[in-house]
Amino acid sequence: DAMVIQNPRYQVTQFGKPVTLSCSQTLNHNVMYWYQQKSSQAPKLLFHYYDKDFNNEADTPDNFQSRRPNTSFCFLDIRSPGLGDAAMYLCATSRDITANEKLFFGSGTQLSVL
């Protein structure tokens, strides 16, 4: 049974047209993460939520926002997608924020920007 679910699996948007990616979890974990993975590159952390506390990585562009309305759901909003934002977006969860906590990943959403 899927524990971290990302929808949609594939998303196509137009240059400059806002897009939202969604992630849900059945693990009741406190922490939810969004990673961006460009082709043939390592996943890169964009931001995370620890409960309701939002933590942005220093180099995450302002174009990327996130919402977490409740424990189970987290959204990634790209306000004005550029061609360079085409990537796989991975959602992950962990029970807590400590270094030894394992991350559980969803299958990702592959975003194309036309």
Binding site: V4, S40, A42, P43, L90, K102, F105, S107, G108
Partner: protein
């Protein structure tokens, strides 16, 4: 600052042959070390992790990894590779902070 290096971008092995994927990390203290596998178009699945204790850790799918502090390495091994092991493999390090730093990955091709 912490970093993870996977020196091999692409490795090809024959089915049934042994496998070793290299990973080196840079960090002042003992980090928490992970290996993840990613099949094409999929998310990441944890293979194994090292936190402390026995430096040889066993994971899923017959994989193991050995932590060598003197070499700052955490290489992944499998004695006999199966065609289904073809995937991208990521080594990752987590320190006191909450970020999981990934290496750039090693793509494994398995030939019959």
């Amino acid at each position: 600052a912490q970093s993870v290096t996977q020196p091999d971008i692409h490795i090809t092995v024959s089915e049934g042959a042994s496998l070793e994927l290299r990973c080196n990390y840079s960090y002042g203290a003992t980090p928490y070390l992970f290996w993840y596998v990613q099949s094409p178009g999929q998310g990441l699945q944890l293979l194994l992790k090292y936190f402390s204790g026995d430096t040889l850790v066993q994971g899923i799918k017959g994989f193991e990894a050995e932590f060598k502090r003197s070499q700052s390495s955490f290489n992944l091994r499998k004695p006999s590779v199966h065609w289904s092991d073809a995937a991208e493999y990521f080594c990752a390090v987590k320190t006191g902070a909450n970020n999981l730093f990934f290496g750039t990955g090693t793509r494994l091709t398995v030939i019959p």
